[in-house]
Symmetry: C2
Subunit: 443 residues, 2 copies
Amino acid sequence: MNTEKLAEAIYHSNPLDSERAGQSAIEGIVDYLAVSYQTKSEKEMMTLKQIVLEQGGNPTGYLIGSHLHATRSQAALFNGFQAHLLDYDDVHSDVRGHPSAVILSALFAVGEPEMHGKRFLAAYVVGVEIMARLGEAMNPTHYLKGWHSTATLGVIAAAGAVAYLRKYSPRLIAETMSLAATQSAGLRLQFGTVIKPLHVGIAAKNAVESADWIGMGMHSNPDFLTGFFEVYAETNVPDLTVNWGKTWRIVTPGLWFKQYPFCSAAAHGADAAAFLHQTYGLTDQDIESVRICFPPDGDSALIHHDPETGEEGRFSIEYIVWLALTGKPLSFASFESKPIPPSWRASLQKVNRITDATIKPSKEALPKGRFTIVTVTATNGNVLSKRIDTPKGSPGNPLTKSQLKTKLLHAIGDEARAEQLIEAVHSLPISTLGVFQEADCKS
Amino acid sequence: MNTEKLAEAIYHSNPLDSERAGQSAIEGIVDYLAVSYQTKSEKEMMTLKQIVLEQGGNPTGYLIGSHLHATRSQAALFNGFQAHLLDYDDVHSDVRGHPSAVILSALFAVGEPEMHGKRFLAAYVVGVEIMARLGEAMNPTHYLKGWHSTATLGVIAAAGAVAYLRKYSPRLIAETMSLAATQSAGLRLQFGTVIKPLHVGIAAKNAVESADWIGMGMHSNPDFLTGFFEVYAETNVPDLTVNWGKTWRIVTPGLWFKQYPFCSAAAHGADAAAFLHQTYGLTDQDIESVRICFPPDGDSALIHHDPETGEEGRFSIEYIVWLALTGKPLSFASFESKPIPPSWRASLQKVNRITDATIKPSKEALPKGRFTIVTVTATNGNVLSKRIDTPKGSPGNPLTKSQLKTKLLHAIGDEARAEQLIEAVHSLPISTLGVFQEADCKS
């Protein structure tokens, strides 16, 4: 019943009736391309290419930023892994995770060269809508239990998006999402390893295969939402279609594009620490101790208190705040899989985190209820403090168009090519998808 | 800690030191081949072949019973789907599910033509051991919550078996099982659809890919058991290695080979009903009402009270008991995906099921605690009743060697070929795996 209603709503969606939804989708694709191209020199991408090449297969899907084609399944795996590898991709507060890395990776993998780009944009908006509504209904229970929502909810949303792209009937949309739901997986205990981005690739792959296999004649139980909610969130399913299409969640509250390649739960703290560094010119020697204050559960994604590697550091508020406070760059090099220098790790002992339920979050805060306060006790006895409610990049404080373009340019390193890609995204309704491949990339 | 201990135990296993373990493994392979070959004329196998052929890829893995090769991933998907398609494959009471369909499907998919068969048999024994110990520790909670244990636990066990087969280090065995665990999925709400056997194929595929990808340089969090148990069974991990290798669970309690292609939870009831039919010569007209009595939760896998199709009928004690009571065949034709005749469905209204916690299970019962009592009130007022504690095929009442051979012969329909396969399984330590393919199968 509830699944049928959702599938009907998806089937009848016309999100591009809203110009803002189309605009948000375009921005989302530009950011997705930036984070994907940014991985070019990462050795993990070579491992994944070897996996794909060793399997072989009929080249029907697009690998973003590569000259290679691969099967649709492999393309989705590759695109999803790539888009989330640096933890630099967009976040949606309703999801408690990353929508575009899964949804766009699946959509690009199944995109046909001559496909009508408007349908592509619309499918992306619909996918984000499904994922945001699932996240809203199932979280925080689902996430706090140990699930990696990006993967667990993303696989269903991406499957729904692909089914919508292909104009499946409501029945087959439901069956596709059901087959995705029964493959929904991904544990947060993998955070800080390369399996976190692999989850995203696997989710995109499973979404594509769900759509392919239902399209080829497999049949699942179309009525899956009740059972899925019971097992994954121990709750009843609400009506997921209330006000469907009135506003789109890709617009309100909107996507959060990252400035830095680490977990978005650390973005408030990073901005607060950077402010303190810039304002007071702090160095390592000036700092006696640091206290970082969150609302309850506000730091639950930040699982590493004493990270051993830069990769683990992506989930360590201690590490990130220390870097920013002392003026070290929040660049990709700081978050690689190599060991953190012992002297830096020793300094992290000065940093503590607390949660405080008595502090009222700002009404403007996004994600709702979030804030971070960084308080430094200096060696000279001064106490310096900064609170952030809407970090740069979050929907309350978005990247400008020019900043988004800079992000893409930085990833590609070639202004003409960056311009070409941005233009292609804007003209997606009439362009072909092949433009997002790299003819000149030989690996 | 607990994962490390398990990985060490797996690494150091020498199960063929026990002759009975080797013998049980051989019987398990014969039964696996019988249930796989039995699917030959099933249309769903054609759909899966089309999926594999459409993807294409380097032919490195074996498709059992076909002349085709495919990628290892596809071979595992195909083999697992095939082995569980008719719900005719073996059951293990500790697992609350089907071990061989997942484990052997993965092992056959990665088997190399010149691989030493002893290692293959040993890996199978080790896989069943992992799955049985996981099942024992996590059930009934895990299963009753809605998980399809065959898939959710099978993927981890099969991954461990493949890692053992390839002589991975303890560290990489743990990482392989961890990557499998973070893909663990499969909801019981798909029971009665073709997605149930697809779960098994997907689990075998994900196991193979976990082993392949860890082998190619991906790294997971090797310490996964604590988190996995919390999320999937809400319990702490016990020591899974107590008395490891003293007896093997493939021997004690042992595998249950099925006589009929339906859920094993219905086997007691089917034997009881068949006894009543044979003893009293019952027909449709003789029966006023039927009561079927289980211990609490003994019928939880039998989710269909009023099945619409034979496929749903595999999970309907009402349907199965009615067939057996009235002398209709418990054959494959009765459990196909076509509609059940309306007159038959009308008769099912006479059948009710109850559970009774006051009835003591027999000490010999296997699975432990199980029984079924079928009580018929005849139209002439007589009350006829039969209780079964150990149905035919279960470890307490096993198929004889000759019955197992008949099962394979029935599946293959060619005595010489059946003999050849049985001989090949017995000489597996020196044979090559290619013999399990069908050179003469053109589809």
